[in-house]
Symmetry: C2
Subunit: 351 residues, 2 copies
């Protein structure tokens, strides 16, 4: 797989074409699976990990899957390429940073990613643009079934799928949506949302998963429980809750545009101006300003830019992407200069 080429294009999930994509950036489902005849990754020695990796690597590439897949041996990648895959949401930070034989199978459009020897032997992920949990579920079920025809998963009649971490036991499913909630953030209403979600066992995370800070007003909302409910129930739960958050964000946006249009217009225009003119800019400030601009586009306050461009910039201005573009290691200060140059270039010709 050509990771240089990957760093310059974008996955389908950034295209901003799915339902409700002004607020729901992407929908994601992942399944945690393990092979019955091997110990969990944390319990496997190097030789065993290699054996598991070898087995899954070969199996996955031979599967009659509906999508063309490429396999990448993560342990053989440079640190920069591993970081690139993290920024791309194709592997987890844990997978990038762990030890031993491991890999990832990626589909052409980056909707499907199959991590081998992450916390579990196999992590199946399907990602789609917008609020598309049904599409994700259809696709991931099909993939899961096809894989299960070739391997034997660790499964208990009583508990369901067995996983390395008890929080995943049962369905092994995590259903999540990535929401852009700038209006709820600016009015501080977001805390009410967090409180309500916690009570119904949903988790909120930042752009890059567990422990990551919410940057650019992006929030990943996902199920906490995997046991005692069916996959469909867990998906239905999120499908029932998310529209309320979408409506809440929309109502607050409407109120903002009604009561503070001038101020909001000023804020998003200045953000756009700074992104097109800065000579050095941190990742944090970039996310913050891109979030403003994204809101501005969705509210019709900025009309010469499109959502996919902004979605892409969130990812392409991350450290590894910038370094891949420059084809060399960059210190933080150099990255800030490269990031500003990239933004000016990508946003130029729009005044």
């Amino acid at each position: 797989m050509d990771l240089d080429a990957l760093s310059r294009r974008s996955g389908e999930w950034l295209r901003g074409t799915g339902p409700e994509s002004d607020i729901v950036v992407s929908s994601r489902i992942r399944l945690a699976r393990n092979l019955a005849k091997y110990p969990f990754v944390a319990r496997a020695d190097d030789a065993l990990k290699s054996e598991i990796e070898e087995l899954l690597h070969t199996t996955l590439l031979k599967l009659p899957l509906p999508k063309r897949l490429d396999y990448v041996k993560v342990d053989q990648l440079e640190s920069l390429d591993r970081q690139l895959l993290v920024e791309r949401q194709l592997i987890s930070r844990e997978h990038a940073e762990s030890e031993g034989a491991r890999g990832v199978c990626i589909s052409d459009e980056e909707n499907v990613s199959l991590m081998v020897n992450e916390e579990d032997h196999l992590r199946i992920q399907v990602l789609h643009s917008g609020f598309s949990l049904d599409e994700c579920w259809r696709e991931i079920s099909e993939i899961d079934d096809i894989i299960e025809e070739s391997v034997t998963y660790a499964f208990s009649e009583r508990l369901g799928y067995l996983t390395a971490c008890p929080t995943n036991v049962g369905t092994g499913i995590r259903v999540s949506v990535m929401l852009h909630l700038p209006a709820l953030v600016v009015t501080k209403e977001i805390h009410k949302v967090f409180g309500a979600l916690q009570k119904i066992n949903l988790t909120v995370r930042g752009l890059y998963g567990e422990g990551s800070q919410a940057m650019g007003d992006f929030y990943q909302i996902s199920n906490q429980v995997t046991l005692g409910k069916s996959e469909e129930q867990l998906i239905d739960n999120l499908k029932a809750v998310v529209p309320n958050i979408i409506n809440y964000e929309r109502r607050v946006r409407e109120a903002l545009i009604k009561d503070r249009r001038q101020e909001l217009h000023d804020q998003v225009s200045r953000a756009y101006g700074i992104l097109r003119n800065a000579q050095t800019i941190s990742s944090e400030e970039t996310m913050h300003l891109l979030s403003s601009v994204r809101l501005g586009i969705n509210l019709g306050l900025i009309d010469d830019l499109e959502i996919p461009t902004i979605n892409e910039l969130f990812i392409h201005t991350q450290p590894a992407h910038l370094q891949k573009l420059q084809k060399r290691h960059l210190e933080s200060a150099e990255r800030n200069v490269a990031r500003a140059r990239f933004l000016r270039h990508r946003l130029s010709g729009r005044s």
Copy 2:
């Protein structure tokens, strides 16, 4: 005189063509004169003020002066037009706000302004772009001589010209230069300059004279003493001191560009970006950002803008100018919106 037309064009002194005009915006000399046979303005009743105004008005317009002059009866102007002349540096704030018959004679290029019934019966002002005190002196002496052929000034052999305020007695001269000192401000070296100037009896003021705050890093430096020295000595004094300040500012600019080029480039570029994109902006922020951009142009960090445009914007974004442009009274918040629109319009097409 058509003040609507005036509000849309600029005086010669904003053209940025004079010597050292990267730092010295303009040079100015004014002479305070009074008529021998009348009491000072503060001591004259309305009838007397009208008589003085009538006399000087008629006399000034008949003089064989080298420039075409227009006369404006300041007491008959709307408050907005008076403010316009203040912003334009053609009359003082005191002249705009005082009572009774008073006027101002203005030359086509706005280099010459003759205020009638300000603090003194007559205040002669000559203003030029850049560091041009000799030019100002040649021109103002000639005007002063020509006027003196038609009227008798209050003059004492012992004291010199008699003026309403004792600080002007003697030569009645005030020699001043308007300096743009952003590098000395940003490095806080400016305080050393102030200290040094005070010791040698020079005064520092902001853009709009006595008591006004220095905005946009502009400082007016002028003589404090008018008695006991000849006009030439006072002018020579400023001519000797100002080059030191110019060199100091230049040295600090060079050091900044050497040591903090990236940071400086970022700062001036962002300032430019905000000016081209804000939807609402205060006068103070505008001055601050224009000052950055002016420095950026002078250091070659911004190459699609010229100094005269920026000099003009400092004046044309002032409250009265904006209101003349809109042909109506604007509240502060409306002015901020009008100012932002004007800036976007004037700076558009430059990306």
